[in-house]
Symmetry: C2
Subunit: 689 residues, 2 copies
């Protein structure tokens, strides 16, 4: 390895000491054995086109095909066209494929589409040419981004990567940007293969060291951007609202102060001067200790627009997070409800944000719990560009020690209809969350998608090899929210385990398809959330872990019942933040879905669910079932380990053992806790300690 | 400040940027204004005698007296005599005082006795000569030691001082022994004034950096010993049982291995060669991750005797801690009881320890809780030298944020009669814990006293200025366990606040006398213990904080009752570790003291205490009362702040505010927790959240 960045058109070392993920050499065999061509005026003028040319050459060199001239009857022609075209077009005639796109990056995405499709792109199972087709593949939104909560310095509590469960950062190593960034380019390649084209390079909790990326360390940012650029991935930076003060500017960060505005304009000018294709800024303000506009009596529109004004001349974006709440709450004050906070703060500001501001909204009102209601903010700001924020890193879903395939959960969220069955704009189909984030909601404005990455410098990128599927699914489902999560998983299996036997494929589906619901079963019940250990950074059970804390999320379990009353009638009124029909569906015990019951209602342990079970028996049953399911996963893995590479087999085995241990811990603590409180014995007489 | 050690006979700078504690200049006025003499053959040959000479000179120079020849009618003559005499003798005739001792250190202790006594040493309140007297002041035991849990390196979790709440270490600063050790000498002076003459220099959890003190860094140990020596304080070291392996010796630490034995002998030889008056080793083995003899199938007698053999030629001691228990317990296994562990491990070894081994036993069976039963180990090993270990640092008693004067608690422990009213050896008075530790128990062997220090580099030494009283009381009460804790506090007040008004004295007594019981009231009830926050290093409430943890201490609270059944009849059998009468007193609900009820029994919330209250109402009442008492403390302090120096006034005020906040947090969490579980309302209708 050298410290030299890759030369343009030089590919990163794909077969390396880290796992190839969904791009093993074998995945390129169907294209690489054919005649490939690239048609573009002056392909050497563009970094992505040079990459594409190198990809074709590499695939052919490896698998026996040939790069030919566009007019020389290629099996696959990649063609850069002019004109307006979102995504890419795939035309197949007599088994020959032409992919057309209007930008090099879209053409690159089209190339990986063919790679993903594999042999089926060209031929039917019987060897005859595949059926003719003419498909247009446009992404749901042109903003699909990954946020890295990576620190440059190792943070004394949070480490190199905040909420990272896959080793250190691929960008930074203990205080400096890595000398060798070839792995960053390999990462960009993985992202390009799933359609992700924007990455935020640093933690939204911007500490002193990381703040300097905006100024003194711009050359480092330029190096990182250069490492991402060959695969069409643009760099964004998380910046501190306090930056003017901490980086030698004015002694205030007041967004209406002329000196502050000038400072940010200058800062933005310097950033784009160093990185001409820079994407923009990501901001966490007035949140968990980060400074924000509240300090100056301003609101979040003032704050966001300050930065928007600075980046606008460069076509830059501001991703402004709606994750604002009081994190110094008093548990004794039941009138405070953290779930209400984002809506309370942001809904009144609708229409006041500049056009290049994207308000980034966590999918639920709390913080990436295993199960949450969809955030009402997503339906409350038609005149604002809203991005849906997901969490690929498994902070609350097993921290990549547990198998927890999140695709089905994200599908539920993306397909959720915030206005129920009401017709969409112009009388069309009911609007989904994915529609709203993609500009097809009531206001016609979209902010796309963002998510916290689960990648680190771990050999398998994601700690748990099977957690790669979450990163894969995030890219695929945000490109096309209509995709079926299980089908996406199947794609991932085909790519990641080349020559996968039906037996292995069936085992992986059995282990992963329902793993999110399995995780839900053995952890916090019925949507109540946050029964996690503050001591172990949210890993493992602690039923009362946040019950008396300033962070403000409670279950209010007593000897009679459990759950948070968020109704308008008798609770915090949070249900009133939803439009119809959800404001009423959630308000009523008769219609509130079981899986969110305790998020919306405080009920007796004897309350009978729609499922027919009581709350207490449901808790016992799901916790016993969850552990049994984990045991079945582990057994299933043992049946197929001989079919997977040794390293993957061993790592997954080790993690399944930990998952079982942890699931038992969850089961026993949660069951014991509620048995001690309720006094109700398990109807099936199983052991509760 | 310079890096040069103090020259022999040069006093440390007493009035410095740190507080003088109980030795302010004014405390020396009664002696310093008189004619003083020191009688010893060749006083310049001994470091302590040189110190004593300097003390006399300094006192006289400051307060107008004179150092005179012994035959020149001094008001105070300090006389080194030959012969066997423990401690010192004080003879007063016609207002002239002669202090006689057999060793320089005992004579120094005698000097400070006169300083502590003040004007009353010489004259009656009416100015006439004080009554003639002839007193012998011998310490209860010749071993009175302070253990410092100081790390050389700042530990990533535990910091510079493990369980330290008074800033950094006075010995070390971030990886090195301090260049300027004058404050260490000032500390030794404070210790000499309360009769402490041994200090262990480092944390019993011996990490890699600290292990080197035993070998490569012996010159540093010698420097520290030299800084303590002028005041007659001897240095001990905590050593790792793994030392042979980690410090370049044999590849085993097996205590029966000849090479290991040779390695330890060599190591001891080098230590005593560097520090001829070195005291010995302190060892934590097979405990909380520290290696011990169990790793080799050996027992703790084998382990302790290994080190004892090595240090015996030098007259050295081995303090071997009995704090051995399984810290990876399964909370589901109710047959495991951490309280049993020390007795289970050590009692069977009685009689097998070498004569220079002292088994150091924590006062209670758990870990320095606010209230614990006295450890049954103290009554179980008549053929072993046992030391009683106390904790001056307030790990579980408010961490020096809370006023908590521990003198009364230690008095209870020291005066506890492990064999009840049974006559002592030779038919004498019933034996107390202090007797047993002092060699006046059944076997006639004593190991003295040890305690974890509460001192750091904080301006006030102990963080909370009033926590100085705990250090003071530890010295005084272990010198003479018959002293009354309130009288000792009064001594401390007189010295620390010279010219203390009756109003200030009364206020300090009102705030401090009962502060330990106040702390007990608003924290864990009825002896149950360990309801502390693991997240905040044992500070603040977390009722379930250890309920489901591997550390093994539980309250088993459910909707019906609370407490740990440690009876022989139905519980863990721990009561059987006590001799009569306690094995029966604790076994029976009818005789078990209220304050230990939940430590020994699991009872319904409706159980009626000897006090007449129910358990649940007792919890509510004490928690409300505790907060009210803290509020009264703060109000009382405000009445007298004008009489104390600004720095002390402000620091105490700030800590009282935090104590109030914390006490309210304790009250509300504990009350809410038990209200939610029991459903029993407060009989007095106060607010429970």
């Amino acid at each position: 390895m050298t410290g030299t960045p890759l030369a343009d058109g030089q590919l990163p070392p794909f077969e390396n000491d880290y796992h190839p993920a969904w791009l093993p050499t074998a995945a390129f065999a169907p294209v690489g054995c054919r005649r490939l061509a690239l048609a573009a005026e002056d392909p050497h003028d563009d970094a992505v086109l040079r990459t594409l040319a190198a990809e074709l050459a590499e695939a052919c060199a490896t698998h026996g095909g040939a790069v030919v001239a566009p007019h020389d009857d290629p099996d696959l022609l990649l063609r850069l066209a002019t004109g307006r075209l979102d995504g890419y077009r795939v035309v197949r005639r007599h088994g020959r494929v032409v992919v057309t796109a209007a930008t090099p990056t879209a053409l690159l995405h089209g190339w990986f589409h063919v790679v993903r499709t594999g042999e089926a792109a060209f031929s039917a199972p019987d060897g005859s040419p595949a059926e003719d087709t003419d498909e247009r593949h446009a992404p749901s939104s042109d903003l699909r981004m990954l946020d890295h909560w990576d620190n440059v310095d190792v943070h004394p509590v949070m480490g190199q990567v905040e909420r990272g469960y896959a080793g250190g950062s691929i960008f930074y190593d203990d205080g400096v940007v890595r000398a060798d960034l070839s792995r960053v380019t390999a990462y960009a390649r993985l992202l390009a293969a799933i359609g992700i084209d924007r990455v935020c390079l640093n933690n939204v909790n911007v500490h002193a060291r990381e703040a300097r990326l905006l100024t003194a360390d711009l050359p480092d940012v330029a190096r990182l951007a250069a490492a991402l650029r060959p695969y069409g991935v643009r760099a964004h930076l998380a910046v501190s609202f306090a930056a003017p003060m901490t980086l030698g500017g004015p002694a205030t960060s007041d967004p209406l102060d002329p000196d502050v505005r000038a400072w940010w304009r200058d800062a933005a000018d310097r950033v784009w001067s160093a990185v001409p294709d820079f994407g923009g800024f990501v901001v966490k303000a007035d949140s968990e200790g980060q400074l924000g506009p509240f300090a100056y009596g301003r609101d979040h529109a003032d704050g966001a627009n300050l930065l928007a004004e600075a980046v606008a001349p460069h076509g830059g974006l501001v991703h402004w997070r709606a994750f604002v709440y009081d994190h110094t709450q008093d548990w004794r004050d039941r009138s405070t409800d953290r779930a209400r906070a984002a809506h309370d703060h942001f809904a009144p500001l609708d229409g006041r944000f500049a056009p290049n501001v994207i308000v980034q909204v966590k999918h639920g009102p709390l913080d990436f719990q295993t199960r949450e209601a969809v955030s009402p903010v997503l339906a409350a700001m038609p005149r604002t560009r809203l991005a849906l924020e997901l969490q690929v890193t498994q902070e609350y879903t097993g921290q990549q020690q547990h198998v927890c395939y999140l695709g089905p959960w994200w599908s539920e969220i993306l397909r959720f209809r915030p206005w129920g069955e009401a017709p969409g704009p112009d009388g069309g189909a009911p609007v989904t969350v994915a529609d709203a984030a993609s500009g097809r909601g009531p206001g016609g404005l979209g902010g796309g998608f963002a998510a916290v990455s689960n990648v680190g410098d771990d050999r398998f990128w994601t700690g748990h090899p099977l957690a790669q599927a979450n990163l894969y699914a995030y890219g695929r489902l945000t490109w096309d929210p209509e995709l079926d999560a299980t089908a996406v998983l199947d794609e991932w299996i085909s790519l990641t385990f080349p020559a996968c036997s039906p037996r292995l494929r069936a085992a992986l589906h059995a282990i992963m398809d329902d793993s999110w619901r399995t995780y839900e079963r053995y952890t916090a019940p019925l949507g109540v959330g946050f029964m996690v250990s503050p001591l172990r950074a949210h890993y493992g059970p602690d039923v009362d872990g946040y019950e008396y804390s300033k962070w403000g999320t409670y279950h209010f379990a007593d000897r009679d019942g459990v759950g948070v009353d968020r109704t308008r009638a008798t609770g915090t009124g949070y249900t009133g933040q939803y439009p119809a029909p959800w404001r009423d569906v959630y308000e009523s015990l008769g219609t509130c879905p079981d899986e969110l019951l305790l998020f919306f209602h405080h009920v007796p342990y004897s309350h009978v669910l729609h499922s027919g079970s009581t709350v207490i028996q449901h808790i016992y049953d799901t916790h016993f079932a969850g552990v049994e399911e984990v045991e079945a996963m582990a057994a299933r893995w043992e049946e197929v380990v001989d079919e997977v590479p040794d390293g993957v087999a061993a790592r997954v085995r080790e993690r399944l053992a930990e998952q079982r241990r942890s699931a038992v811990e969850w089961r026993d603590q949660v069951n014991t806790y509620f048995f001690r409180k309720s006094g109700v014995p398990d109807a099936r007489g199983r052991t509760i300690y």
